[in-house]
């Protein structure tokens, strides 16, 4: 990452200024023209360094009060194929393979599910369970009870 991009990240990671011309304000704070800023941000969008630009909602405030991290012990030779199917489910917002840490931690597949209430979230978990069943050894759901901290990532 070059110094210009790092400056753009620093200037925007906490959010855009809420003014009629926010990109101009960012460009001025970084010390480049607005046209240069557009080119850099477009490049970061194109190569995936920026996932998207817009509103980041708080799940809880949208009524998604049941936020469960479902964790699954799936056979290693099946986890990638099944993980892709789980990740494609509309109610799954994040899906990752992570290492096991035996003996304390046996689960290698993580899928975040969100429901407007525990019943809805549990139904989502059941749907995942049915999908994984052929290669599934164990699973659990860790519901969040409190947000202790949630900030934009500090990258630069």
């Amino acid at each position: 990452m070059n110094a210009t991009d790092a400056g753009i990240v620093r200037a925007t990671q906490a959010g855009l200024p809420l003014v009629p011309e926010p990109w101009r304000a960012v460009a001025e704070s970084v010390g480049i023209t607005q046209a240069q800023l557009f080119a850099r941000v477009a490049a970061m969008l194109a190569d995936g360094r920026i996932r998207r630009i817009g509103a980041v909602p708080n799940h809880y405030r949208l009524g998604y009060t049941a936020n469960g991290m479902s964790v699954w012990d799936v056979a290693d030779d099946a986890v990638d194929a099944l993980g892709a199917q789980v990740g494609a489910l509309a109610f799954v917002t994040h899906c990752y393979r992570r290492p096991r840490r035996l003996p304390q931690w046996r689960y290698n597949l993580f899928a975040m599910v969100h429901g407007r209430g525990r019943a809805e979230a549990d139904a989502h978990v059941e749907e995942i369970r049915a999908l994984l069943a052929p290669a599934l050894r164990a699973h659990d759901v860790l519901y969040s009870t409190r947000i202790l901290k949630k900030t934009g990532l500090r990258l630069a």
Binding site: Q13, W23, G54, V56, P57, R97
Partner: protein, 147 residues
């Protein structure tokens, strides 16, 4: 939640335009005007309906490092440990969860080499081991919760 708030959540999680007056352009899409949209986003941030408004960066593609950590903390010691963990600016998210592993946080650092010393520091400060669970593979992400 009013109609405009719903529209911000449902239609403005991505695609905020790279133009001179992006709020005016987005407002037109949403059937409102620039000043109303800016005021609405300010209100939603103040109320906590939105946690942020702007570019969402992919830490790993930026060349940084990102990992998930879990700790098993006795309830009597939970608040102290949570405060110590939160005090590190590299800790972006931290959640209490109903499980034997009851503290789950995400660490983001500019370089992978910063992660191990940070975890060691958290272990030393709190007196509890940290289970580090970096992502090895990502299966599709499209965060699109509807309001």
């Amino acid at each position: 939640m009013d109609e405009l708030e719903r529209a911000v959540v449902n239609r403005l999680q991505g695609g905020f335009p790279l133009v001179e007056r992006p709020f005016a352009a987005a407002a037109q899409e949403l059937g409102t005007d620039q000043a109303t949209l800016i005021a609405k986003v300010q209100d939603m941030l103040a109320a906590g309906t939105l946690t942020r408004f702007g570019p969402m960066y992919d830490v790993e593609r930026m060349g940084g490092a990102f990992t998930l950590c879990a700790m098993r903390v006795p309830l009597a010691d939970f608040e102290r440990v949570a405060a110590l963990v939160n005090a590190h600016p590299e800790v972006a998210h931290n959640y209490a969860r109903a499980h034997e592993f009851n503290l789950w946080f995400v660490v983001a650092a500019a370089a992978g080499a910063q992660i191990a010393p940070l975890i060691a520091a958290i272990e030393a400060e709190t007196g509890y081991p940290v289970l580090e669970l970096p992502r090895e593979q990502e299966y599709f992400i499209e965060l699109r919760l509807v309001a």
